[in-house]
Amino acid sequence: MLVVLEVARRLARRFAPWIMIAMIGLVILVIAPAACRKMSNEAARARLGEASAKAASRNGEDAVATVGAAARREQQSDALSRTNEKEIRNAQGADSAVDPAVRDAGLAGLCRRPAYRDDERCRLRRAATR
């Protein structure tokens, strides 16, 4: 019995450094992946924040430029409408009278459209027909 204990003590003394190294290695193996994952996630979150901020800035610039171009286009469209109206009214026959029945039917039709539902003239027409 004493011999067995002595052998065990000698073995333990001889392999103590290796046992220590193995234990430290085991601890590193358990902790390191979780720590690496955490660091990697934090780095990815930082990268995402930076990339998102850049994208948001470019999105804003794009929207401002596009809306600005649309506003210029709409101004040109309204200007063309005014020019066209002059030409139409100067054309021969533009002053020809429209039959009042057709006029009323036309206006009544327009007043049934959602675009003119709240138009003052449509409200008056509705009130008059009640």
Binding site: A56, N59, D62, S77, G93, D119, C122
Partner: protein, 81 residues
Amino acid sequence: MSGAGCAALLPVEWRGGVIPAPLPEGITVGDWVAFADAQTGKLDEANGRTRDAIGIVERCEARDTEAVNKARRGWLRRLVG
């Protein structure tokens, strides 16, 4: 990040739509022809806004997706790409 904020880039006034051409007096032929022309102009404006709105949102979503994909790339792909 799914491009959920992209619709916020659109101007508030676009939500109400394009204001139609004023109702014509309709007494003369000229009134109705001019009205038809003006309303066509408004149609062009509305179609333009639709195209622009879709474009703004589509490009915004593509940029947001690209930003997420870039952030997810591994260190080797970030180094190379």
